[in-house]
Symmetry: C2
Subunit: 172 residues, 2 copies
């Protein structure tokens, strides 16, 4: 586990898996720094994704995910209230999907969009990148087995450290 | 089909489908400009992906894909020789996958990686973006039903015009 591993890029499978679990499985020693853990009135976009009225209370969690001590991803998540206990210590000790599962939530599916854009000043500072640096972005709405939206994730990744990899089969 | 459509972003499903077909289906009036259509000695990476000896002849095709007359993607493809007739006029009239199918090739699967990075000077010029502008990247090796690699694609997309969208199901 030397310099080469530290700087290697995580090639992440496109499955409804947790970044934390994937990093741990890859021997990347993930760590999480919780930057924000609060309740806010749901902005319109968040409300629409989570199926709650605009302005209703929702959890807002901002986390920095590190691998081998280096920032890899900046994760903003909104969740409905009343679903699970979002304790900061627990959020720093494990991944959000594990917390959901241990709260009895059965994850079923997600809609994801992957794009790219330049880092905002905040993102650049969090990820130790120059302002405007290219970032890989992922927006995801995750649903449980009752069809309820259980989270909206807005994630930015440092592309030197992170890419999505997957296999496709021809539509039959 | 006005200004709003011209500047809308294409949200492309993650399937083994053709960008050309997807744009056409979305009413985006795709067009292709062939920039390079030649045979080159296979560089090491291309040779490894296509399963041919390094330095063997391979086709190199560079295309600009436009939607409503605006550059959307810069597509570099390498293909084994002897598979199909890569006529420039035909490449400008349709998509590469359609040409493959009409040559009797049955596409089966692909390995893809999606990432982001800053535009090189060449990419920026082709895509009418500033140098260093964030680009969405896709590298794909496509296999036919005999397991043979039939193309290696290195594609860059303007992220203001293009994103990948898809649904995921939990691993059971």
């Amino acid at each position: 586990v030397g310099t080469q591993v530290v700087h290697s890029q995580v090639k992440r499978p496109l499955e409804l898996s947790s970044l934390y679990d994937d990093l741990e499985a890859a021997g990347q020693r993930p760590a999480t720094r919780v930057l924000v853990n609060t309740v806010v009135p749901a902005p319109a976009e968040v409300a629409a994704a989570l199926g709650v009225p605009e302005g209703d209370d929702v959890h807002r969690v901002e986390r920095l995910r590190l691998a081998h001590g280096e920032p890899m991803a900046y994760l903003i998540n909104h969740l409905p209230t009343g679903l699970l206990d979002l304790d900061t210590d627990r959020l720093e000790a494990t991944g959000l999907y594990r917390l959901m599962r241990s709260a009895g939530i059965t994850l079923h599916s997600a809609r994801q969009a992957i794009g790219a854009r330049g880092a905002t000043a905040t993102e650049a500072e969090r990820l130790t990148e120059p302002a405007g640096a290219p970032l890989l972005t992922m927006r995801r709405t995750t649903y449980d087995d009752t069809g309820r939206a259980v989270e909206l994730g807005d994630h930015t990744y440092r592309p030197s450290r992170y890419s999505f990899e997957f296999q496709l089969l021809v539509r039959s």
